[in-house]
């Protein structure tokens, strides 16, 4: 793709997300869509993290753990220590990144299904931890988290206090999509820079990568930390949107979904997890009408898609361009 086409694509995307979607929602009056799309945007950030761990050749089913961790860190910081929501976003991300370094050091040497299993267990352990540790307040969770406050710089209010808004959902939508755009822009840059190429070398052959001097242990940790950072930020923002967090806010199902989002969108494409999250979230909700058959149809379609499109939805575009 040429540079101009890329720029045009970016402009259309930003226009759609920041202008067209809100305009469409205003025109149709479907205000509930804001909440749905906010969720999609935030979940896609966590999925982007999972995608990066796929990129270094690890099947990561532990992102739910970090989203939950991030949500709790943010909730505790806001409710107990009165920290501003805006600071809790990076704080939650960094907390999760640090935690992932400690956890990753022993488990990242595992490969394939072994890493997948351990990371899956990690999600469950985190949920149980949230039930047991006093600071998370057990099963009743942390509720009544205040809405984000204002951001002002030199006395000028950049973002108004969410609680003074008529409809904070719109504000949350803008917040979520802004975070999503930043996360994916960073990811795009990462993958297209030398770091991405080295991550790719790791995915394809770790022995060969170490023979050319790549510190594979180091690089795996960096990728896992970035992934968990995104999971933490996503969880923290989720806690603010729902104003609550429970041990069941992110479970094994979510961890699996983060992974499926990547599969569905395409593991070879940076924007795969975004498209995957959107499709999966809406697909699941659309199937709600089928009642008891929801899960059956959903799973069958997923299996079929993986068989027919092993490289994800975005590989469709590629085929056309080649042919």
């Amino acid at each position: 793709m040429t540079a101009t086409r890329k720029l045009a694509g970016l402009a259309i995307f930003l226009l759609a997300v920041f202008v067209l979607v809100p305009a469409l929602i205003a025109a149709t009056g479907r205000k509930d869509l804001y909440y749905t799309l906010t969720s999609v945007a935030l979940l896609s950030i966590a999925s982007a993290g999972v995608w990066l761990t796929f990129y270094i050749g690890r099947i990561n089913m532990g992102q739910g753990a970090f989203a939950l961790m991030g949500a709790y860190v943010a909730a505790v910081l806001v409710t107990r220590y009165g920290m501003s929501f805006w600071w809790t976003l990076p704080a939650a991300g960094l907390f999760c990144a640090l935690a992932s370094l400690l956890i990753g050091l022993p488990i990242l040497r595992l490969r394939g299904v072994y890493f997948a299993m351990v990371s899956l267990v990690l999600t469950e352990v985190t949920r149980l931890l949230a039930l047991a540790v006093p600071i998370t307040e057990g099963a009743k969770g942390i509720t009544n988290i205040p809405l984000p406050g204002a951001i002002s710089l030199f006395g000028i209010t950049l973002v108004p206090d969410f609680s003074t808004m008529e409809n904070p959902r719109i504000a949350f939508y803008y917040l979520a999509v802004t975070l999503m755009v930043i996360a994916f822009a960073a990811m795009y840059r990462l993958v297209n820079s030398r770091i991405g190429h080295i991550c790719m070398s790791l995915q394809q052959n770790e022995e060969l990568a170490s023979s050319i001097g790549v510190n594979i242990v180091h690089l795996r940790l960096i990728a896992f930390a970035i992934s968990s950072f995104l999971g933490g930020v996503s969880g923290a923002a989720f806690a603010a949107v729902t104003q609550s967090v429970y041990p069941s806010s992110f479970t094994v199902t979510d961890s699996v979904n983060f992974m499926l989002n990547c599969f569905l969108g395409g593991l070879g494409y940076v924007f795969g997890p975004m498209l995957g999250t959107l499709t999966l979230y809406f697909g699941w909700n659309l199937l709600f009408q089928t009642g008891e058959f929801q899960l059956l149809i959903y799973s069958s379609v997923m299996i079929l898609l993986m068989l027919v499109l092993p490289n994800g939805l975005l590989s469709l575009g590629e085929g056309r361009r080649k042919g």
Binding site: L190, S193, R194, M200, E207, S210, S211, V217
Partner: protein
């Protein structure tokens, strides 16, 4: 000539099996030294020990007087001792050029964060890597295949690519793992010429190989191992006339033909 690698009393046991037993020899700067031996003699284990892909049970490998055995492979590579693999070990889903560019890792002056933000040092690195990769591709006669995905490469070229990946790290010592295995007469001939040109680039080459005629043609010196032990060391001529070597090889052959 100066000694560049010293292999000292190297031993490696796997459970009750001693794969490499008390092997010592030296590699001199800019020589081509081959390690040969019958099947199962412990060549591969020795190779991995020298490349730091395996930790020795006892003994050590010194590179310019510095111990490299027992360290992680990427540290040995950083010091200048780099191994190649047999043909299937390449970055399959990258093009030939991408394979070689990514292998320039050790030469980068910019940090990983620098590459993310596109600093001047990083852009300078990228440019230098591109140029160097093109030079290596030309050196290996892979120009026509530079944009081809590595997994689509024919066999002979895969091995050249493997050597190219090794060259990109700018090593002092290149360890080649059976560079002539599975090649026909013509291909071997070309590969032998290529290994010679590696030495002309200033490299020291240590190779582990099966193919006797090729080894005799190419090596300055040869180390022969059998049952994990060094049984002979010398010039090709000396090796050809060495009683123990003849015995080891003929013995193996006799067994193979059922005598």
């Amino acid at each position: 000539m100066e000694t560049i690698l010293q292999i000292r009393d190297l031993t490696r046991r796997f459970g009750g099996l001693t794969a490499v037993n008390n092997v010592s020899f030296e590699v001199r700067e800019k020589e081509i030294l081959s390690v040969i031996g019958p099947n199962g003699a412990g060549k591969s284990t020795l190779f991995k020990l020298i490349a730091s892909f395996l930790k020795p049970t006892s003994g050590e490998v010194l590179y310019r007087g510095e111990r490299i055995s027992g360290l992680a492979p990427h540290i040995a590579a950083r010091k200048g001792v780099v191994r190649t693999f047999q043909e299937t070990t390449i970055f399959r889903n990258m093009t030939v050029r991408e394979n070689i560019i990514v292998a320039h890792h050790l030469r980068s002056k910019a940090s990983l964060a620098g590459f993310f933000f596109g600093t001047r040092a990083a852009r300078e690195d990228e440019r230098a890597f591109g140029e160097s990769a093109d030079e290596i591709i030309h050196f290996l006669n892979l120009d026509d295949l530079a944009r081809e995905k590595a997994k689509n490469l024919p066999h002979g070229h895969l091995r050249a690519l493997g050597i190219g990946i090794g060259l990109a790290t700018n090593p002092a010592v290149l360890l080649l793992d059976e560079p002539f295995a599975g090649m026909n007469h013509d291909e071997t001939h070309k590969a032998v010429a290529m290994v010679r040109r590696l030495r002309e680039r200033g490299l020291t080459v240590l190779l582990v190989e099966h193919d006797m005629p090729a080894v005799m043609k190419i090596s300055d010196r040869i180390v022969v191992i059998n049952f994990g032990q060094k049984i002979a060391e010398g010039t090709p001529l000396e090796i050809q006339n060495n009683e123990k070597v003849i015995e080891a090889y003929l013995g193996a052959e006799d067994e193979a033909i059922g005598m």
